[in-house]
Amino acid sequence: MGETVIRAVDGVSLQVRAGEFVALLGSSGSGKSSVLNLIAGLDRPTSGSVVVGDRDLAKLSREELAKYRLHVVGMVFQSFNLIASMTLAENVELPLRFAEVDRAQRPELAREALQRVGLRARMDHRPSELSGGEQQRAALARALINRPQLLLADEPTGNLDSHTGTEIMEMVRQFNRELGMTVVMVTHERALAERYAQRMIFLADGKLIDDRPNTPAANGGQS
């Protein structure tokens, strides 16, 4: 995996190296989610550029941008965003359908991904039958299924209590370390960022205020 360079120019210019764990901090309305959406290819910059690897997202067609989201990016959200009418297995399998992965391989891949987040036993349940932490784990499994280079998390623990929040963050860190995924996480909880991120970027009113390295606690500071 080559170096992943991300630069968002909106009064904001930043670079993220491949394999880095970056936290975007700021109060609501600071523009941190907008930066994340730009990186995710959900939004296009009106001016400037977003470069991921060797792609300039601003220059991709809608179709190419969808492919980029499908194969390069995995996303988790504050509100989990699982599809309520589908079981966990089906939710996790959904990106494989868009990627046109062979039907015969899909169930096994979905089981593997759910195994990784410890939800294999609950794969036939619907999201509404699960706790928030379990739903977010399923969302993580879905984000992983196409083996993306980039994991984008938008307030992943915002709807969870601190215990399950820690559980999720441990998993994110595990993916960062073991799978070498670059993680960009948006959060307004400074403590969470200090515990897990290698770098903290502060935004306010759409402007970059501070960008400093951070030494995360060795085991997520569970002590």
Partner: protein
């Protein structure tokens, strides 16, 4: 996304809001049902009309005439200008008839024998036109189910009378504007009675076959050379076997007579026909010369082939094929109108599809946003909505065809109960051919896809950031 996935997701989504989608699908079904009902009525009526015509012998018959006859009908100058060799035109005699009969796709070729004659019934003379019928005319509508029976054989000395002639024999004249007499009542006093047929025989040589039961008293003085023929007056006793309830004016040439004889019997009588006078110059032959020959073709579809083959032989032909063009045109217009009326309900149903899918976009806004966020392209979302519209179309089409078919069956049944009460034979005027089933389902599918055009486009353009913002 591939088709199996699209179908699976579409059906899953349709199940999610089962009531609304079922109602929309029922709407399509009603539209398709009305379309199928209308068109199958049109097709059924057309088939009924064609069946009638085929049975009446109109569609499978080619009338062959000699070219010379055509020329006497004012074509002479044209033919001359075209440099056609007059020697090419052939005489329509027995050998020509046999040759035509041996053409492929020809069932039979029989001469049209028609002559004016006097028939005596209870010693009163009645002058009328007599025409010969082949045994194959038995299946003709006019003779099927008439009082009495058809000729027992092709040579039997038997006759079938047309209704008005039967009335004349009985001395009844129908009151003007009054009710027509029942054929069955007319038949009772006449069936089995004998008539004496008086005719002029064209006797070419003494060793001509004497018709069975013919009065041979005068035949001895017809001993003439083959180069000439004499006209001899003869009598033939015939038995009335049937009374046909057909309108002589509505039928084709050969049946435009009021008394019918078996064909072989009529041939053996060697009745002096009008054409014989024209053939006087050729009278050297003792073979009869026919004014025209009716050729029955195996299948109405092969009429053109047979006509062409006969034309090559040097004869003129005429078939009803040209005349039926206007009939086909009429049914095409009728089907078009029925189709338009039937489609109206489908058009309304398609608005239902648009409505349902637009509602679905509003409801599934978030879901669409999620799918796009995790990598669904605009095309995937569009195809998914198309698949949902298409699935509703196909389901509605299938249910609609079944519904339309049932409606047709019920109406057919009801009408036949009515026909039975009126003591009329049952009719099958409702037809749902396989192509109509396929076309109706296909049409429903296409209509629903067109209806899905706008919702699918709108869903595809949905901005995922906007869709995911509100919780």
């Amino acid at each position: 996304m591939k088709l199996p996935d699209l179908t699976e997701l579409a059906l899953r989504n349709l199940r999610e809001s089962l009531l609304r989608n079922s109602l929309t699908t029922i709407g399509i079904s009603v539209g398709v049902a009305s379309l199928v009902a209308m068109l199958s009525l049109g097709i059924g009526l057309q088939q009924l009309a064609s069946r009638r015509l085929v049975k009446s012998g109109l569609f499978d018959t080619v009338v062959v005439t000699s070219h010379r006859d055509m020329r006497t009908m004012g074509r002479e100058r044209d033919e001359d200008r075209n440099g056609a060799n007059p020697g090419e035109s052939r005489i329509l005699d027995e050998s020509a008839r046999a040759e035509i009969e041996h053409l492929s796709n020809v069932v039979e070729a029989y001469p049209d024998i028609r002559f004016s004659t006097e028939l005596r019934y209870e010693d009163k003379p009645h002058l009328t036109m007599v025409s010969a019928l082949p045994q194959s005319a038995k299946s003709n509508d006019a003779f099927e189910g008439m009082p009495g029976r058809f000729f027992s054989s092709d040579t039997a000395p038997e006759v079938i009378l047309q209704k008005t002639f039967a009335e004349e024999l009985l001395g009844k004249t129908p009151p003007r504007g009054g009710e027509e007499p029942n054929v069955t009542d007319l038949a009772k006093p006449l069936l089995g009675k004998e008539l004496t047929l008086r005719y002029a025989q064209r006797a070419a040589s003494p060793n001509q076959p004497v018709p069975p039961g013919a009065d041979a008293a005068n035949s001895s003085d017809s001993n003439l050379a083959g180069a000439a023929y004499s006209v001899v007056s003869r009598e033939q006793k015939v038995t009335i076997v049937g009374i046909a309830d057909l309108d002589p004016e509505s039928m084709r040439g050969p049946t435009r007579a009021r008394v019918f004889l078996p064909l072989k019997l009529a041939e053996s009588l060697h009745v002096m026909q009008l054409t014989d006078l024209r053939e006087i110059a050729r009278a050297a032959s003792d073979q009869p010369v026919y004014s025209s020959i009716s050729v029955r073709v195996k299948n109405p579809a092969q009429i053109q082939l047979v006509e062409d083959a006969i034309k090559k032989m040097g004869f003129g032909t005429f078939s009803i094929l040209d005349a039926t063009r206007s009939l086909r045109q009429f049914f095409a217009v009728l089907d078009l109108f029925l189709g338009i009326f039937g489609s109206l309900a489908l058009a309304v149903a398609s608005i239902g599809i648009v409505n349902t899918l637009v509602m679905a976009i509003l409801e599934r806004r978030r879901e669409i946003g999620i799918m796009k966020a995790i990598g669904a392209s605009d095309g995937d979302v569009k195809k998914l909505f198309f698949a949902e519209a298409g699935a509703m179309g196909i389901l509605g089409g299938i249910v609609g065809v079944a519904l339309g078919w049932s409606i047709g069956q019920v109406i057919n049944l009801g009408t036949n109960v009515y026909l039975k009460r009126q003591s009329l034979p049952p009719e099958h005027f409702w037809a749902v051919p396989w192509w109509l089933v396929a076309a109706a389902i296909g049409f429903a599918f296409v209509v629903s896809l067109v209806s899905g055009l706008y919702p699918a486009g709108r869903a595809a353009r949905l901005d995922p950031v906007q869709a995911l913002r509100y919780e």
